[in-house]
């Protein structure tokens, strides 16, 4: 701290960022002005400060010009503060003698008037010059990282991330709220554009997860509480009662056969309600874990207490059925987490013009996935709800996408899955297939080729967003059919096309409880509810909470290849942290000036991390640095001004305020 007493020698650098800043801000003028301010030993402009030569310049100047403070005016500190602190340190100074001014995101990119932007840049620079004078040398604190990882969500993203890390030798907890992992992908019949059987590529991975020695798989479970911080999270997981002792059940399914309901009677969620199941069931044959579940809403014994319990008889001495099961909780410690909670599909009833829920032969795409699936409710036979074999089928794209009344975004996967379903339906039925689209989007490897193949196969494409689906017939050929009214925009005519079956390509939406999940993990959300990445380009799987990463459909609509790539990236981010072993923490913690503290205790209840304690012997407040996360709330509310926050000391902020206002 001795340099405080030395004469201040501040080095100032204004970055052009190519044209990004220089086009709007007169950098030469800013450098000139700052050069006239007191204590500024040197003021320069440079094309790219973040480049190697730019950083080298800082280091060289520190050495040659004996600088003891550095200010760079360039982009957002969230982007390059780290870079320039590094350069400052490499030049031989404590990195916290550096301060950064944001004249790109907050200035050149948001203003057009060159004069105004230049004036603003000068004011911001002056504030930094005044602020940096008060900076102190600080030490970076290192925090150890717990090597275990939590993955939330057992869809393809969670499965892939968990496997990647488990294979690298890390202990992984995989928490899934449904009775089985597999997510949406487990419901698909084939995948585009290769037409791999979805089950064939997914289920081996599922059972690997189930058997992996490094993975603790908790299905039918939910995260209810998250405490701690990067490297040291404490997580509470709730296990919902499935009324089956998981370890005892061998998946023989004899209980299902023995159930007092002789035939399946209840809506089968896995098959989108197209099939039936019993109160005791397994979602689908390859479910992982291979364990049945009892649905308390429909089980006679759980509902009424009056049942012959033939299932228990059938289970016999395995004794896997336990009607007394209650919720249980586990508390685990992990260092990092991946949130991969997925998406939900759009509720087609919200577009009443398409008749979903009114006309039985209107289907959602996910329903059709089950309908064409060999293990689906009809064994793969495409037969409509009213028992017909369709001769003509209309597939309507963009249902609940690109529509200001529902969702404005493009759901990205619907064009491709619609074409996949078109092909599968054609194979299964030989029907005439019409795709109604606004734009066909095929931005992926082999996707456009897939579109070409569809055209070759004679699948029809009509460019036009469907006006309505109706059962009202205008002509004899429309009698008894569903008629699609649409403008064929390429021909310029309105057409009425009668079909036997309508498939709605519903879009993707954030999960219903995305907001709750977001709060649980302290993530940010865009306005539409997708989880927000730290940077759309450069930190696409990171979040604003260190040590928590996101992957897959919870972040926005994406297809399987992208989801898997992202899951791999998130796993790599976790592994990088774990293998480094520690994280460096911003030294922005607060401390109490014992000699000034009056012992009023008003700060103590304010701290959300209970980092402040009252020392009875000295009658002053004491802050536990390890628990403090540097929000500064206690500092702002201390009546005697005896709490100080590193990096945000009162003097530093006051001088910044004066600085921005000193310049006219």
């Amino acid at each position: 701290m001795n340099s405080n007493r030395e004469e201040l020698r501040i080095g100032f650098y204004v970055c052009h960022c190519g044209h990004n800043i220089a086009a709007t801000v007169d950098c030469a003028e800013v450098a000139r002005y700052v050069g006239t301010l007191p204590h500024v030993a040197l003021s320069r402009e440079y094309k790219y400060m973040c480049s190697d030569p730019g950083q080298e310049l800082i280091q060289q100047d520190i050495r040659e010009h004996k600088l003891n403070r550095v200010v760079v005016a360039s982009c957002s500190p969230l982007l390059h503060e780290h870079t320039f602190r590094g350069a400052t340190e490499a030049g031989g100074l404590n990195p916290f003698y550096f301060h950064m001014v944001n004249i790109r995101e907050h200035n050149s990119w948001v203003h057009t008037d060159r004069k105004e932007a230049t004036e603003k840049a000068k004011a911001l620079a002056q504030a930094a010059i005044e602020r940096v004078a008060h900076h102190k040398a600080l030490e970076v604190k290192r925090v150890k990282i717990h090597a275990d990882v939590l993955v939330v969500g057992g869809g393809i993203a969670g499965i892939h991330a968990a496997m990647t890390m488990a294979n690298a030798g890390k202990k992984v907890y995989l928490v899934e709220r449904e009775p089985t992992i597999g997510g949406h992908m487990a419901k698909f019949d084939k995948t585009f554009p290769t037409l791999d059987c979805a089950a064939c590529i997914l289920t081996p991975k599922m059972s690997e997860v189930g058997n992996h020695p490094n993975i603790t798989l908790w299905t039918y479970s939910e995260v209810t509480k998250v405490d701690g911080y990067v490297g040291n999270y404490k997580v509470t997981v709730k296990h919902k009662p499935r009324y089956i002792v998981e370890d005892a059940c061998v998946g023989c399914m004899e209980c299902i056969d023995a159930c007092v309901y002789k035939t399946p009677k209840f809506e089968d969620e896995f098959n989108e309600g197209l099939g039936k199941r019993k109160p005791v069931f397994i979602p689908f044959p390859q479910a992982t874990p291979q364990v049945v579940i009892i649905d308390p809403e429909t089980c006679l014994n759980l509902k009424t207490g009056k049942c012959k319990k033939t299932c228990v008889e059938a289970c016999a001495d395995r004794m896997a059925i336990d009607f007394t099961q209650q919720e249980t909780f586990d508390e685990i410690e992990v260092g990092t987490m991946i949130v991969a909670t997925g998406f939900k599909t759009f509720d087609a009833k919200r577009v009443p013009a398409y008749g979903y829920g009114v006309y039985p032969n209107v289907y959602t795409a996910l329903e059709v996935e089950r309908l064409v699936n060999a293990s689906g409710p009809t064994g793969g036979e495409v037969i409509t709800r009213d028992g017909r074999h369709p001769k003509s089928i209309g597939i309507i794209h963009c249902v609940g996408s690109r529509d200001k009344k529902t969702n404005v975004w493009c759901s990205r996967v619907c064009c491709m899955y619609s074409m996949k379903l078109a092909l599968l339906l054609k194979e299964h039925t030989g029907a005439e297939i019409y795709n109604f689209y606004i734009d066909i989007r095929t931005p992926g490897k082999g996707y456009e080729e897939f579109y070409n193949k569809l055209l070759d196969e004679g699948v029809h494409f009509i460019r036009g967003r469907v006006g309505e689906v109706t059962d009202w017939a205008m002509t004899p050929e429309e009698e008894g059919k569903l008629t699609i009214r649409v403008e064929d925009t390429l021909a310029g005519y309105v057409r009425r096309i009668p079909v036997d079956m309508v498939v709605l390509a519903t879009g993707l939406e954030p999960q219903q409880d995305a907001q709750d999940v977001r709060r649980l993990f302290n993530l940010s959300c865009g306005g539409e509810g997708w989880f927000l990445e730290r940077h759309p380009k450069l930190a696409p799987v990171s979040t604003f909470t260190d040590g928590i990463f996101i992957a897959g459909g919870c972040q926005g609509p994406r297809d399987i290849p992208d989801t898997v790539a992202q899951a791999g990236a998130a796993a790599a981010e976790c592994l990088a942290l774990i293998d480094k072993g520690y994280v460096e923490q911003e030294p922005n913690t607060a401390f109490v000036l014992a000699e000034e503290c009056s012992g009023c205790k008003s700060c103590i209840p304010l701290c959300p991390y209970t980092a402040i304690a009252f020392d009875e012997s000295s009658k002053v407040a004491v802050i536990n640095e390890a628990l403090c996360k540097g929000c500064g709330t206690c500092v702002a509310s201390c009546p005697s001004g005896s709490i100080v926050q590193n990096l945000f000391e009162d003097d530093e902020v006051f001088s910044e305020i004066k600085g921005v206002l000193a310049y006219d």
Binding site: K404, I438, R485, T489
Partner: protein, 191 residues
């Protein structure tokens, strides 16, 4: 064989026309059109239109003033608002049609003896003068101006109306016509 040139040169556009329309209250969102055709798909009258509503949107946006203002489409619009309600871009297509109708009347480019603009104008005249509409006299006037013989074809309806006590040639008027006239005059000042 009679052929016509269909290519459009830049000189065929009346530059600024689209922008002007998009400045009118209710018509701003035309910019956002993605040409999906929902408007045409739901329009009950698109059956008879020379340009579909979607095409009218595009032609307007690109300044093809002559084509739009002389189209039948704008006059076939029955203001049922189905397009406005269904448009995924929240474009108020019905309002844009109104604006185009106003411009067509203003410039006198609608088809001759075409009954709808005549009706609109006669309607406006009658309301401006009387404050109210007298339905039968309005209809009579319309037929006289557009299709004197057609009126004869509707003798059956006329008879029905007489028999059910709905045929009245009396002129409906508000009392304070002077007030209304003052209001219109004030509205036109500086407007």
């Amino acid at each position: 064989m009679n052929i016509t040139r269909t290519i459009k040169y830049e000189a065929d556009r009346v530059k600024g026309f689209g922008d002007e329309v998009m400045k009118v209250p209710g018509c701003e969102k035309l910019k956002d059109c993605i040409q999906c055709g929902t408007c045409s798909g739901v329009c009950p009258l698109s059956v008879y239109m020379d340009y579909t509503p979607r095409q009218v949107m595009e032609l307007t946006r690109f300044d093809f003033k002559k084509e739009v203002l002389s189209s039948k489409t704008i006059w076939l619009c029955a203001s049922c608002y189905a397009c406005t309600c269904e448009c995924p871009r929240e474009i108020r297509i019905t309002d844009i049609m109104y604006e185009l109708k106003q411009r067509a009347i203003h410039e006198g480019v609608y088809p001759r003896k075409f009954p709808i603009p005549v009706l609109a104008q006669e309607f406006e005249k009658m309301v401006t003068a009387n404050g109210r509409i007298s339905e039968m006299p309005l209809v009579m006037k319309l037929f006289m101006k557009t299709d004197p013989l057609g009126a004869m074809g509707n003798w059956q309806m006329g008879l029905d109306l007489m028999k059910t006590g709905r045929f009245s040639l009396a002129s409906e008027k508000i009392n304070n016509r002077e007030q209304l006239a003052k209001m219109f005059a004030a509205a036109e000042e500086k407007a």
